[in-house]
Amino acid sequence: MSRYIDISLRVNGEDVRATVPSRLNLVDFLREELSLTGSHVGCEHGVCGACTLTVNGDTVRGCLMLAAQADGKEITTIEGLAENGQSAQLQAAFTKHNALQCGFCTPGMLASALGYLNTGGSADRDAIRQHISGNYCRCTGYQSIVNAICDVIEETSI
């Protein structure tokens, strides 16, 4: 019952061509068609942040964008970030501070944190808290996440 659309895009550095239902959202396309299951689906209405990923360098909710809208775009998921080393410092700091428990929010949290770092965010704890407020974590008290992000900024600025 839904229309299909041909798309071609780059995902984690690889060219992808697909024919997708017009109603399919980006995160479902990545998870179901490309088996990139690192992006998680928590609410499907753009609030929880678990599906946060990068589209042409912008931090985007994978559940609020249609796969069809990704035509011609460059997508980076957590798998890509892990592979290309962009998030290596954050991953090390998250490990050191135990800034994750169940890990379900973690890929989205890393994408948001990376967005903060890449836009020159400072090691101001309140500013970091504001920035990651679009990413719900139900396990930690957020403090370890703030500590981890602060650490990376302070190390990088030395």
Binding site: T37, C102, G103, G141
Partner: protein, 759 residues
């Protein structure tokens, strides 16, 4: 010191160290495997038509169009599945008088809450299954709903189960001493307050879900389960789907948060297993967020009227309260929905010495989502009642609330003893915890600044709680009442040919760091480096039998079993080493992956020993039978539960124009016995505090008078965000304990701190 190094002093001493979790890297690279990440050949997807009404008779179901829709594989009604799934009832014999009625996976005849599954559609994709749901026409006759717990017992209230004659599920009275006489004594002041604890829910970031795969050639059901108690679910699937227990394998890979939400029997998950059996192929069901809000268990929902009597000199003479708890239309299976109220009756005022106590609990049915055990079961209510009243009492007699606590807290040297309600308590440290807390927060300075701020029109408050926590339950919690819930857990440790350890345990991982602490214990006790331990949990086919992770029991029970198993394997390995080295076992130790002399000098690597045993047994005497694997089980025997304690404080600011409350800072001092990994424990506590703040200030499931859930979206139900949460300072007391528990507590809650806050 002579003899082998103590497990806490050895080179491989990992217990007590802030070791990062080994599995963090996997989760940080997006390589976790949650239930929705499972894809199996021929897998189909389930969606449910759910009741839009809180209470309605199902007159007819027309699913003809749905059956013919694109991609639809099967359509089941409640009656269809009732032929294949036996009903279940959420009662236990030790909760005398608890009543509930048989529940089916899908509603049969009557729907009793908004969101109850009515029709199941199985299709080749979730999207197509949802499309088909739109084509199912259910004719309902709406019935009056019993929504408000306060009127659910009134004459003329709609009765949810006519067979029971009323909406009363359970009641219990606890009477100790003579509260009326105590309150009537001449120098006693009585304070009174009503507490209303709204409903909230777990909002696990990963919603509930399951993948069930049935193989008819072996009559084998494999369930990928996002939850906390695989062995319990194995029994439940067996019992209600008519399959031999041994033919059911329950696997928990990564679990995206649980907090007690995913430890119950949900109709849509049982229906998914039934569909897999009927269709002979894998079926996946992943709840969307709306379904989670409507069907995940809710928590709390108490209305409490309470009084406390205190003498002029500040001695608490007793507490008197009445707790009304609304649990939805059924008692949840198999743990029941009466435990929450029972905990409130048992635990209120438990940190304080008092002679008189009277409590009445009533648990009532209502047409809302089921209520059941969620993180810190009953504790926030119990602690809020006592410490809320205590703040009122302090104000009434003009005493500082910390001073009033000092007078009434049980002395640290008074254990073992019982609480007013007869709970056995041991090794608690309330007074030390409170003193450490007031030092940590600079209480006097904070009070002075509060007074100063008030003069400038800034309203700040300081709130305290002294609390106990039920941990490490014995069989008295569930098993005694007939539930298929193990109170014991097992751990196995195997020395592999390369000199590494492989351990497996029946406790489970939902992000707490279960696997990490198992590895720390095994490595330290046995004597290998931490990176040489591999851990398996969450699989009924490959782990020892046990209860799983809940009620702060993983570290205390599963950790103790792990410790004993590692010690046993060490003894077994040293016996082999003694023969191979022709030396007395008492002169040997295991350190850093090698058999050593007591002074640590290496005699034989574990790899050499294991390879000799596994590959070249001809080099060993024929009468030596090496066992390089050991299993131990552990259960709590001397106590029904092992209580732990803590003291916490919140500093808040209230905008008196808007009523907005900002938590400025939070402190928690916790005595959990020996801390196995402070890195894990501290952030667990912070997570508990944040969920507690959520329950106190942000989270509530709002219902209309006719039983419609009004805010069932992530945007409308307020989950605490980073920007509004305070920095949280943690400190520990590690009281030496007379009992062999490694870590008496586990790392739940902390949230009871939140409620009894005074401004």
């Amino acid at each position: 010191m002579t003899g082998p190094a103590h497990i806490f002093d050895k080179p491989n001493r990992y217990i007590g160290k802030p070791e990062p979790r080994a599995d963090a890297a996997r989760l940080l690279q997006g390589r976790g495997i949650y239930v929705d990440d499972q894809k199996l050949p021929r897998m189909v997807h389930a969606a449910f038509v759910r009741s839009p009404h809180a209470h309605a008779t199902i007159l007819s179901i027309n699913a003809e169009e749905a059956r013919a829709a694109t991609g639809v594989v099967a359509v089941y009604s409640g009656e269809d599945l009732a032929k294949h799934v036996t009903p279940y009832v959420g009662t236990l014999t030790h909760l005398a008088g608890l009543r509930s009625m048989p529940q089916h996976p899908l509603a049969v005849g009557v729907a009793r809450w908004q969101g109850e599954p009515v029709v199941m559609i199985v299709a080749t994709s979730r999207a197509l299954a949802e499309d088909a749901c739109e084509l199912v026409y259910v004719d309902y006759a709406e019935l009056p709903a019993a929504v408000d717990s306060e009127t659910a017992l009134d004459t003329g209230a709609p009765i949810i189960h006519s067979e029971l004659g009323s909406n009363l599920a359970w009641e219990r009275d606890v009477v100790v001493g003579d509260i009326d006489a105590a309150f009537a004594a001449p120098d006693v002041h009585v304070v009174e307050r009503q507490f209303r604890f709204g409903r909230h829910t777990g909002v696990t970031l990963e919603t509930r879900g399951t993948v069930c795969d049935y193989d008819p050639s072996e009559d084998q059901l494999t369930v990928y389960y996002s939850g906390q108690a695989p062995h319990m679910m194995q029994v439940i699937f067996s019992k209600h789907l008519d399959l031999p227990e041994e033919n059911i394998r329950v696997i928990s890979n990564d679990v995206g948060g649980s907090f007690g939400i995913k430890i119950h029997t949900y109709g849509d998950e049982i229906a998914t297993a039934a569909a897999a059996k009927l269709l002979k192929r894998p079926v996946k069901f992943i709840a969307d967020r709306f379904e989670s809000f409507l069907t995940d268990i809710h928590a709390r929902d108490h209305i409490v009227r309470a009084k406390m009597g205190v003498t002029e000199a500040g001695k608490i003479v007793g507490i008197d309260f009445d707790d009304l708890t609304g649990i939805g239309p059924f008692s949840m299976y198999p743990r029941t929905s009466a435990i929450e109220c029972n905990q409130v009756l048992n635990l209120t005022g438990a940190p304080y010495v008092m002679e008189n106590y009277r409590a009445k609990g009533r648990v009532v049915f209502q047409n809302k989502t089921l209520m059941c055990q969620y993180r810190a079961v009953g504790h926030p209510i119990a602690m809020a009642i006592a410490d809320g009243l205590l703040e009122d009492a302090a104000r009434k007699i003009g005493m500082d609330p910390v001073a009033l606590r000092e007078i009434n807290l049980m002395a640290d040297d008074s254990y073992p003893r019982t609480s007013a309600t007869g709970m056995k308590l041991d090794d608690l440290s309330h007074k030390r915890a409170l003193r450490k807390l007031t030092d940590l927060m600079n209480y006097d300075g904070l009070r002075a600044r509060q007074t100063l701020a008030r003069k400038k029109g800034i309203y700040r408050g300081i709130g305290f709680v002294s609390m106990v926590e039920v941990t490490n339950p014995s069989p008295m919690f569930y098993g005694i009442g007939g539930a298929p819930i193990a109170s014991q857990d097992g751990a196995t440790v195997r020395l592999d040919a390369g000199g590494a350890l492989h351990v497996s345990s029946s406790i489970t991982e939902q992000g707490q760091g279960t696997n990490a602490i198992l590895a720390q214990i095994a490595a330290g006790v046995f004597g290998v480096d931490l990176n040489r331990v591999k851990v398996t949990t969450g699989d009924t086919a490959t782990t020892p039998y046990g209860g799983g992770t809940w009620a702060s029991r993983g570290a205390g029970i599963g950790g103790e079993a792990m410790l004993q198993a590692a010690q046993a394997l060490k003894d077994q390995v040293l016996e082999v080493a003694g023969v191979m080295l022709q030396t007395g076992v008492e002169t040997l130790d295991i350190q850093s992956g090698a058999v050593t002399d007591i002074d640590g000098s290496v005699r034989l690597t574990l790899a050499d020993l294991a390879r000799t045993v596994y590959y070249r047994g001809n080099e060993l005497p024929n009468d030596l039978n090496p066992e390089l694997i050991a299993t131990r089980h552990y259960r709590v025997t001397d106590f029904p539960f092992v209580f732990t304690n803590g003291a916490m404080a919140a500093h808040v600011e209230v905008d008196i124009e808007t009523g907005f409350v900002k938590v400025l800072h939070f402190w928690a001092v916790e005595d959990c016995g020996r801390v196995i990994n402070p890195l894990l424990v501290d952030e667990q506590i912070r997570g508990g505090v944040v969920q507690g703040i959520g329950g106190a200030l942000y989270e509530e499931c709002h219902y209309s008078p006719d039983g419609q859930f009004l805010n069932a979206t992530m945007a409308d139900y307020m989950v605490p965000m980073a920007s509004e949460m305070p920095e949280i300072t943690i400190a520990h007391i590690e009281t030496p304990i007379r009992h062999p528990y490694l870590a008496r507590k586990a790392r739940e809650r902390r949230e009871q701190a939140e409620r009894p806050r005074r401004y």
